[in-house]
Amino acid sequence: MSTPNPLLSLAISPSGFVFDPRTGATFSVNPVGRVLLEGIRDGQGLAALVDTLGDHFQVTDADLSRDVLEFAQSLKDQGLLTTDFQLA
């Protein structure tokens, strides 16, 4: 039996309030963080997320790549991302 993906059980409100029903933990994400959280939950990788965010915000690809990787690491640190993040 495969381990359930914690991201799929998260409740994410439009205002950025995040609830993890497995543990009762709550989080705040800012708007960019919410886009990333939902994107990673939907299986998007680094390239796709950089493209998505780059279309919406005034920012360089280099900065986005760094921030996406850092955010993915934050999810791992919180036990919300249990698989390797797709770099492609």
């Binding site: 933990a25 989080f27 994400v29 960019v32 005034q58 690809d61 921030d67």
Partner: protein, 502 residues
């Protein structure tokens, strides 16, 4: 993934993504986060203007704040005691420009080494307005100070004997002071310097001094602690000194000329061990002045013979006048999840970071959710931590930060380590600004270095050609140190072109 830069004009501003876990029970009055209202200018001069002109990192002193604090101290004391003379504590910041602002205001110089005495003379302070303290007064400087009428405060019995010896050799009968220490309620007890008043050592020192027949006592010096947050310690200390002065007058017939009751006033900085911020706990200059003079009310002297009250406050006067501008050079995420930011100024410039939690301010609006953050300096050293814990949002590379207050000790204790020291500037009363100490260059770093002959001839690094000749050492025998004292002649010490006493 494309490598293009997205530069649409109508897109919203980007904020770095953040995920912040909610925690309860951690926020309290200690958990204050820095003001996110940016401080765009110092004394009306935009921070960016200063950085463009002088670079980052950059020390900035405010002449306005220096003068304001000095006048406040002088006036608070003068309202309460008839004879007051502040002296500027050179070790706190002995840059010429800073010292001369104080001297223009009327401050004497308080020094603790021959180098500092030279600095004071170089700044135009006559020797009789130099207070000379400290546990190690080099013979040449000590002799010049005695001849010139400086206020020499003796720290220990060995120094007392040395002054007697110098006086015999040079036919002097100097007037001196002695330094006292005593319990005033500070912890730890401040008893490293001077003669202890409580156990009778100070009384013995005065009797020994007068019995020697080579000098007379003109004053008493006491320093009750450092960063003293309870002003009442000054009332206790001043009262004890006053009682001692009364006893000297009645039992030994000594009428004192001055009482130098030191410094130790706290600034609004925040010690790492301090629970509340400085704004809430640091006594005002008026409170310190009130405590000091209340203690001196115990003096049993006729009004016209009251000794002059000398102060040598450093930190309490200048700390708030100094700011360090620094720039974010990187962001990191530590293994424990904390955010870390690396800035271009570290403990090489802020030795004081080992005991202070400085205020950190931004100079432009910064968006994002504040998180627990560590601020690291630029040194390749694990100890290079400017703030161990501060709530900050993500800071883009290039963000300017203001670290303050850093006016006291930061410049004089800064070190030439891994990075050269940056420029120090001052903003004048009318908004003019300029360098008061230039940024260092490699030439400054290697000045005085010598490669001895026996190294010069050794194997060189393969493929590396020396780019400039290095001064070659002369092989000389080291002079033997003897007990002979330097022979200084002439009553008035002078400073030679090399800045040394002659």
């Amino acid at each position: 993934m494309t490598t293009t830069t997205h530069t649409p004009t109508a897109k919203p501003a980007y904020t770095r993504p953040s995920l912040l876990r909610h925690r309860s029970g951690l926020m309290n009055k200690m958990g204050t986060q820095p003001s996110l209202t940016p401080t765009e200018a110092i004394d009306g001069v935009p921070v960016e203007t200063l950085v463009e002109a002088y670079g980052s990192p950059l020390f900035v002193y405010s002449q306005r704040t220096i003068e304001h604090r000095y006048r406040a101290l002088r006036d608070e004391l003068a309202r309460r005691y008839p004879k007051v003379q502040p002296a500027w504590s050179y070790k706190t910041c002995y840059l010429d420009a800073v010292c001369r602002v104080y001297h223009k205001e009327g401050a004497w110089a308080e020094t603790v080494s021959g180098m500092e005495v030279n600095k004071a003379l170089r700044n135009g302070v006559p020797m009789h307005k130099v207070v000379f303290n400290g546990p190690h007064k080099e013979d040449a400087a000590l002799l010049a100070a005695l001849k010139g009428g400086a206020l020499v405060n003796i720290d220990h019995f060995d120094e007392l004997a040395r002054i007697e010896q110098l006086s015999k050799i040079h036919g002097l009968f100097p007037q001196v002071g002695i330094r006292l220490n005593m319990a005033t309620g500070t912890t730890p007890r401040w008893d490293r310097f001077g003669f202890n008043l409580d156990n009778g050592q100070a009384w013995d020192a005065v009797r020994r001094l007068t019995a020697g027949g080579r000098m007379s006592l003109r004053g008493l010096h006491a320093h009750f602690g450092t960063f003293v947050l309870d002003a009442d310690n000054y009332r206790i200390g001043a009262s004890k000194v006053a009682a001692f002065a009364n006893r000297l007058r009645t039992e030994l017939g000594i009428t004192l000329e001055y009482l130098d009751l030191g410094g130790g006033f706290a600034s609004k900085n925040r010690l790492k061990s301090q629970y509340l911020p400085g704004e809430q706990v640091t006594p005002s200059l008026a409170q310190y002045a009130e405590a000091l003079t209340k203690g001196l009310a115990d003096l049993d002297y006729p009004a016209h013979e009251l000794p002059t009250l000398i102060t040598e406050t450093g930190r309490g006067l200048i700390d708030e006048a100094g700011t360090l501008i620094t720039t974010v050079i990187a962001n990191k995420r530590l293994a424990d999840g904390r955010r870390a930011v690396v800035v271009d100024a570290g403990v090489n410039l802020l030795y004081t970071a080992f005991w202070y939690n400085f205020e950190v301010e931004t100079t432009a609006p910064v968006h994002g959710v504040p998180e627990p953050t560590v601020i690291f300096g630029p040194l390749c050293m694990n100890i290079d931590v400017v703030r161990e814990h501060i709530m900050l949002p993500a800071l883009p590379v290039g963000t300017r930060l203001l670290i303050r207050p850093v006016g006291a000790y930061a410049v004089t204790q800064s070190m030439q380590f891994i990075h050269l020291r940056p420029a120090v500037t001052m903003i004048g009363l009318d908004g003019q600004h300029g360098v008061i100490k230039s940024a260092e260059t490699l030439d400054d770093l290697v000045r005085g270095e010598v490669v001895p002959d026996w190294v010069e001839g050794a194997a060189s690094v393969p493929g590396v050609e020396p780019t400039a000749p290095t001064p070659r050492a002369q092989t000389v025998a080291l002079p033997r140190l003897t007990g002979a004292l330097p022979s200084l002649t002439g009553a008035t010490p002078a400073v030679g072109p090399d800045g040394r006493l002659h």
